[in-house]
């Protein structure tokens, strides 16, 4: 009988193959992973506790710092939760600008994930291209909101300021530029023989598993289930925009990458539609004096489709000046923990980092 010798390998917090500060504790036999246990908590700052000690208006600055690659769904969730409880109505133009910011954030985050996925299989040319193109979107954000990554732009009641003159033209230019770049990404990465060989059949999730394990976003759409919060539970200006939800059926790392690529194309045409038929009018519905503002008692569960999946906030207010309880349900809470552990079993060391990047698990969302 061959004597089985298992050994442990820490793909620790300090590792290039892990996106962010996160660690996997793997039990291996040769190259095959037998048992995987994730270990989070390295980025824990206790957001939910900090938010309970700040006024409603003060939380706007801290809320976007929860998830780093894709900060805008946080602001959107927080603002919409307050609007739902307090019954504030957002003007039409405000909704359109919010949708514009959310879609630009999705584009930037997808470009980042393309680079991460390519880096995990050794193709370091694609991260250089995609992150450089992502900087074009960062410049748009900088012009609109003043900040490259953290925008603090979506406030309860609308958005902080209207879009500057000439901004629409520049957004259209960047969209055309990204669309022109996509075929080059295809040649280098999406149709690269080695990427296809490396990612097909890795981390396969069947549709039933995807539902029972609680996958959301691109990961569930890669298993053939067209579940997208922008269509199922529409918010902001999404009901007035027509776009499809791309899905694939294989449910493996390749399918997830291709779904993100198709979503990238969809987001470009959403941004174009938002820019074309953006109504005139105010962008912010004045809320009472923010320093003494008491949000009426009540609770709201608000969901947004972030680039990583379903991002939800459960906000409870007891009529005081500070939120009584904010529960942040990050998208990677299911992807990065149990789904990653299940998919790693049986995989090999080479695919460990690729599976994590294909699931797009973002550790700050797990630790909050």
């Amino acid at each position: 009988m061959i004597e089985k010798r298992e050994y442990e390998l820490f793909i620790g917090p300090n590792h290039a193959g892990i996106s962010g500060n996160y660690s996997l504790h793997l039990t291996l036999e040769g190259d095959k992973i037998i048992k995987a246990k994730t270990d989070a908590g390295y980025l824990h700052r206790g957001f939910e506790k900090l938010m309970e000690e700040r006024l409603f208006i003060q939380n706007i600055a801290i809320v976007c710092r929860i998830c780093v690659p894709d900060p805008d769904p946080n602001e959107e969730n927080y603002a919409r939760a307050i609007e739902e409880i307090a019954g504030i109505e957002v003007p039409e133009r405000g909704k359109y600008i919010r949708t514009l910011v959310l879609e630009l954030a999705r584009l930037a985050s997808h470009l980042f994930t393309f680079g991460g996925h390519a880096g995990s299989i050794g193709l370091y040319s694609l991260p250089n291209w995609t992150v450089a193109d992502r900087d074009r979107i960062m410049e748009l954000f900088e012009e609109l909101t003043g900040g490259r990554v953290y925008h603090i732009f979506i406030l309860p009641g609308g958005v902080r300021r209207d879009i500057p003159k000439g901004f629409k033209k520049r957004v259209m230019e960047v969209m055309d530029y990204l669309e022109k770049r996509l075929p080059e990404y295809d040649d280098l990465f999406f149709e690269n023989a080695i990427f296809i060989k490396r990612s097909k059949g890795i981390g396969i999730m069947t549709p039933e598993q995807a539902i029972t394990w609680g996958a959301t976003g691109p990961n569930i759409r890669a298993c053939g289930i067209p579940a997208d919060i922008r269509k199922d539970d529409p918010y902001e200006a999404y009901p007035y925009i027509d776009f499809e939800i791309p899905t694939r059926t294989e449910g493996d790392a390749y399918a997830r990458a291709m779904v993100r690529r198709a979503e990238f194309v969809q987001s470009i045409n959403i941004v174009r539609q938002v820019i074309e038929n953006m109504p005139e009018g105010p962008v912010w519905n004045k809320i009472p004096n923010p320093l003494k503002w008491k949000v009426p008692a009540g609770d709201a569960y608000v969901r947004t489709e972030s680039s990583k999946g379903e991002f939800a906030y459960y906000l409870v207010s007891n009529g005081g000046q500070k939120p009584y309880r904010v529960h942040v349900r990050g998208a990677s809470v299911t992807h990065g923990v149990h789904i990653l552990e299940n998919l790693l079993v049986g995989a090999r060391i080479e695919d460990a980092s690729q599976i994590m990047f294909s699931l797009d698990a973002c550790p700050p969302e797990i630790d909050r």
């Binding site: 989070a40 908590g41 609770d299 009584y324 299911t334 149990h338």
Partner: protein, 178 residues
């Protein structure tokens, strides 16, 4: 009758759980207040008969004045496109016990472990309730209302003393005119 699907769901719930208080908060949002004993059965029916396959989240709210924890289970149905938030109340003791639904729902494993860490609620039936995020933390469950993070931080960590002259003058002017 513009909330057609929502009312159908409430009728179904009412059929089984007579004393559950159901209300439609807004389109696609239903709130159900249950007794803590039948949350296990409610979750089972949600998954098996009423086609709510997605457990979005389990949130825990610490009502310190009423000495109770409130657990809110958010279920979402892909076909009916409705979110049902089931709320139960458990007493706020040192280690309150409640039934775990981790056997039915895999995402519940993370949420229950998280609530156990942050609030100290023990879920019977979930054997993975060890420390996950706060492994290097030996203080009380931090998310409870009686734990004040500001006080803890001020005396546990040390800050950089920073009072240059220009700041002291401003403080002095401030003391003079108020």
């Amino acid at each position: 009758m513009e909330y057609k699907t929502e009312n159908e769901i409430i009728k179904e719930i009412k059929k089984v759980f007579k004393q559950a208080k159901c209300s439609i908060k807004k389109e696609r949002r239903i709130e159900v207040i249950l007794n803590k004993r039948n949350i296990m059965e409610f979750a089972l029916r949600m998954q098996k008969n009423w086609d709510f396959p997605h457990l979005s989240a389990i949130s825990c709210v610490d009502w310190i004045d009423e000495k109770q924890f409130e657990l809110v289970y958010h279920f979402w149905s892909y076909n009916k496109k409705v979110l049902v938030s089931a709320k139960i109340r458990i007493p706020r003791e040192k280690e309150p016990h409640t039934d775990s639904i981790a056997s039915l729902w895999q995402p519940a494993k993370f949420f229950e472990r998280d609530i156990h860490e942050m609030f100290g609620v023990v879920f019977d039936g979930n054997n993975e309730l060890e420390k996950y995020i706060l492994t290097d933390w030996d203080g009380p469950p931090p998310m409870r209302k009686d734990f004040i993070t500001r006080e803890f931080a001020l005396n546990f960590y040390s800050y950089r003393e920073y009072n240059p002259e220009w700041l002291q003058e401003i403080i002095k002017q401030g003391d003079k005119n108020d």
